[in-house]
Symmetry: D2
Subunit: 136 residues, 4 copies
């Protein structure tokens, strides 16, 4: 298993939220979150926090995909559509990158392909490599 | 129990994330999230998604505090400090409100009182009242 | 001259900033701003306010392109590259639209085609048509 | 004249927009913009670009107030109120600061003291001192 997939196995809040890594390559990532009762808010629609967590996970994958640690410093999310059921799909793309900063756009879509949320993420890029978790 | 507290008992993702409602009054709310292993990411710090979910919960409380439904349309969050343990505390304040839109600022702090994240939330205000969940 | 072009002839701050409308059609617009000394800040690079004004102009064109008034309620802009000279080019695309809200992405590029800024705009859509300025 | 005031005398777009520096001290700044015809858009209200430029100027003052160069990397602005005339007043406060990043909140108000816009600015802090313009 490659280092970034190994590293993200340690993401417990993503696991707790039922998020699955689909693909990661330099500057790009995809993930999904099959909706269940735990993701809903009081209006019986997917919670903004759950949608954000999915988008943020894809953003973290893409921004850490170059092998060094990147941490989120700013995020902006616009929500366009309420979702009640099915699976949410996130796709993160790198917009720009310099030695210290990286910008990413994440689109979150529902099973119909409609845009549910548009997310912008700005990451601060550190010099140290991704930590290697101990073999288990 | 007042309608807004009753309504937010139906927020399953907040409950799943261990978030507790502390106070809600018109245009204002407080909540907290005691950190445990489930909130951490691969760097062993609180996940941006967990911090956001706490902030978003406080924002939802404050924006729905006037008795009619308000839904999030845009959020912006800047993360200032990594947190490993303890409790995160969120305080939401209404910045402005007109018949259709409401703006809220949420501060998320750690046990030392340091700012962990600053969150801006913009809500679209509907005309219908908060639904009353069936008595249980 | 079509109503939207006529309407935007009344945008005095855009004119004061040397911004030129290139194209506008439903949900889409392009504009440019040839840089001169008046656009610079104390570091001799294009001022964030000038870059924003160009992006905001393209956003306003695209969001008002359906013939009814749309007003900006939230904007987010990430700046990627400093620009000293040449022309800045803005292209606005509609991301989503419902009867009350519209979301737009604006890319601002330099003469080399490099991304200078990425802008997200959220507009509140009113029911009334664009005002028709008096014939001159 | 102190270095930061001297430095900001070189901000030509702020001058072109009629913006005046009122106060600057470490982590804090105030500025104003008396509205005239040049600041208006096609709806005869203050242009979002003009409001942003005022807020961005106060943000730049506050983020450069520690004597080293800080450049804007992300801005978020919510507009609450339309303004037709009078003066707009901006006040920037430092929310957090570490060696590389600084966060600032700027409130823009009208003559009645009502909030016109709320602005969040994130700056990247460089190591080099503010340039000293040549004496004139």
């Amino acid at each position: 298993m490659d280092p970034i997939r190994t590293f993200f196995r340690g993401d417990r809040y993503a696991a707790h939220s039922g998020i699955e890594l689909l693909e990661v390559k330099p500057g790009y990532a995809r993930a999904r979150m099959p909706l269940s009762a735990m993701h809903l808010n009081g209006l019986d629609i997917a919670h903004g926090g759950a949608i954000f967590t999915l988008a943020d996970f894809a953003f973290a994958l893409a921004s850490n995909s170059h092998g060094t640690i990147a941490v989120a410093i700013n995020t902006n999310m616009t929500i366009m559509k309420a979702t009640k059921a099915g699976t949410l799909w996130a796709e993160a793309r790198e917009v720009s990158k310099n030695p210290r900063l990286g910008n990413y756009t994440v689109e979150v879509r529902d099973d119909a392909g409609d845009l549910v949320a548009l997310f912008q993420g700005l990451a601060y890029r550190k010099s140290e490599p991704l930590p290697v978790p101990p073999a288990t």
